[in-house]
Amino acid sequence: QTTVTIATVNNGDMVVMQRLSSRFEQQNPNIRLRWVVLEENVLRQRVTTDIATRAGQFDILTIGNYEVPIWAKQGWLAAFDNLPAGYDAEDILPTVRTGISHEGKLYALPFYAESAMTYYRTDLLQRAGISMPERPTYAQIREIAEKITDKNNQVYGLCLRGKPGWGENMGFVTPLVTAFGGQWFDSQWRTKIDTPEWRRAIAWYSDALRQFGPPGATSNGFNENLALYAGGRCGIWVDATVAAGLLFDPKQSQVADRVGFAPMPTGDFAGGPTWLWSWNLAIPATSKQQEAARAFATWATSKEYIQLVAQENGWVAVPPGTRRSTYDNPEYQKAAPFASFVLRAITEANPTASTREPRPYTGAQFVGIPEFQGIGTQVGQTIASTLTGTGVEQALRGAQSATERAMRQAGYPK
C-alpha cells in the first residue's frame, strides 16, 4: 500500500477532484491518497519551500505553467515520458502543452487551462441601449462601464482584479500594459516600468476602476470578482475564461442567463502575447511514490475523468481548456455556449509572442523568470495603491526603482 500526498489549491475544480478521487482509490486499492488543500498563496509558498529544499513531503504538486518550465529547468520535476497510449497526450491543446514542456518533454499534466475574455451583462447593456463591439477596446469598455454603472443599486460598471499579487492584479495589468504598448523589460533586461505606456495603462486602470468599480477593489482578486459578478454586482468583467463555466452555471450564478462574452479588450498595440494559464499536476523528482503519483496524475487529467465529472456534475462543470476532445463533444457544446469561443482563445493564445519592443522573457500575464513572484507582488502592491489615492506617476517611479533593485540583486542581465 502506497500513500500519495497531493498538494492542491482550494479552487472549485480541484475540490471536485478531491471528492471524486475516491473512485481512483477504488480502482487502485493499493494506493491511498492524502490531500493537502490550501489557499493559493499558502500553497505556492509551501510547495516551493518543499521542492526547493528537496524535503519531499509531496508526491503531487498543483502548480501553474509559470512554475513548470522554471522548475523543470532546475531538475526538480519528474518528466512525463512514456505516457500510456490511452491517455492520448496528443489530445491536449498544443499551446497548453508547450507551456508545460521543457526541452520537448512534458513535466506536468494540465488539469485545466484558461485564457482571458470579457464578460458583460447583456441585460444592463440592453437597458442602456448599447451593445458590446465584436472586438472591444479599452476605451470602449470604459465608455460602456460608465453608462451601466448604477451605484445606488450596487451595480458597478467594471470589475477588474485589484488585489495585489503577481497572480492577481498583475495577471490583468501585465496584458493591459502590453496592449498599451508597454513591457516589463527590454532586451537588455532594463526595467521599463516608468514609461508613458505604463503610465497610460495604469491611468486607465486606476481611473476606470475607481470610478466604476466596486468598493474594496483592492481586495478583489479573481475569486472575489467572480462572487461579485455571480451576485449581479458587475456590469463588465475582464478575466480568465475559466469563469465562464461557473457564470453560466445557474447553481452558482444568479446571472447565468444574462452573461455575454467578448474577447479580451485591445489597446493601441494589437497582437503581442496573449493570456494563457493552466493549473497542472506535477511530480517532484524527490517523490518516492513516482509510479503511484503518475497513476493519479494521469487519471485526474484524463478524458475519463472529464467524463466522470460530466456524469456527476454536468458538462458545464468539467475542467475546461485542456483537451480538444472536450470541445469536440456535442454535449459540452450544448451545455457551454462559450465553448468554441474559449477554445479559440486558448488555441490562439501565444504567451511567447513579442511585445511592441522585443523582450527577453516569455509569458503573457507574467514574466517567466523565478524572480517574478517577488517583483510582481511588490509592483502589484504599488499598482494597488493607485486605487487608494497614490498618484500613478509616483507609483510607477517607485515600482521602477524597486524592480531595478530587485533585478540588480538577482544579477540580471544574466
Binding site: 516551493t48 519551500t49 468598493p215 481586495s219 513572484q373 511588490q378 502592491q381 495603491s385 538577482a410
Partner: protein
Amino acid sequence: MSTTVAPPLGALPGQADAPERRRPVAFFLLSPSVAVLLLWMAVPLALTLWFSFQRYNLLDPTVGGFAGLDNYEFLVTDPDFWAALANTLVLVGSVLAITVVGGTLLAVLFDREFPGRNIARLLAVAPFFVMPTVAALVWKNLMMHPSYGVLGSVARGLGLEPVDWFADYPMASVIVIVAWQWLPFALLILLTAIQSLDSEQKEAARMDGAGPVAQFFFITLPHLGRAISVVVMIETIFLLTVFAEIFVTTSGGPGNATTNLAFLIYARALLQFDVGGGSAGGVVAIVLANVVAFFLVRTIARRLEV
C-alpha cells in the same frame, strides 16, 4: 537570542560567591531550559547569520556564494524597509495604546456589579480565544467587506457610503483586528488586578474626599501599574511578530501601508524566496528585538521586581 542581554553561561557550582550545597541542583534544573532555548535560538540563528552573507535564492540554485554585505545593503536601501520599521512601531504602539486604555476602562466597568456580569464577561473575553487567522478572515469578510460586511450595511442603513476599510484605512483596519483580539487579554489581566485592590485603600481615598474619577486616577490606575506592565510586555512580544492578520487581509498593502517587519521578511523569504535577503532581514529583526528587549523589558522588569 540576545546580543545585548548577555546569555548566561550558567551558574556553575563554586563559581558563584556563596557556594551552596544546593547550587548544583539548581544548575541541573535550569540548564535544560537554557540549553534548549540556546539550541533553539543558536542553531537557526547561526544558520540565519550564515545565509545572510550568502547569495541564496531557493528558486535558483545556480547562483550562490559569498555575498558580503550585499544582502544587508539591499535591505537597508529598500524604502520598504524603513516603512516596515515605522509600520511595526505604529502597529505595536497603537494596539498597545488601545488595549491598555480600553482594557483598563473595561476592567473598571466589569469590576462593577451588574446583572449577568459573569456572562457578559465571558462574551467580552471570547475574542482572545479566536485564532488570528480566523479573526482576520471574519473581520475581512463578514465585518469590513464593503459589499457584504456588517459595517457596510450599518453605514448604508445610516445613509452613508460604506467604507472600503482595507483600501482607505489599511493600517487602522489591521490595528482594529489585532486590538480586538488583544483587548480581552488586557481586560482579563487588568480585571484580575483591579479585584486585588485593597478595599481599605479605596475607602481611605473616599475619606480623603476623592470622588470616583479621582479614585480612578489616583488609586486604581497606579495600582494597575504592575499589571499594565505585564500586559505591555506580553503583548509587545506578540505584536512585534504580527503576521497572520496582515497576510490574510492586506498582504502588506496597498503599497507598503501595512507591511511590518515580519511581513517584509516573509515577502523576502517566501515570496521572493530570497533566503539571503530574508535572513538579513531576520538578523535585523533580531537586533531590533534586542533593542526593544533592552529598553522595554528592562524598564518593565524593574517594575515587575524580577
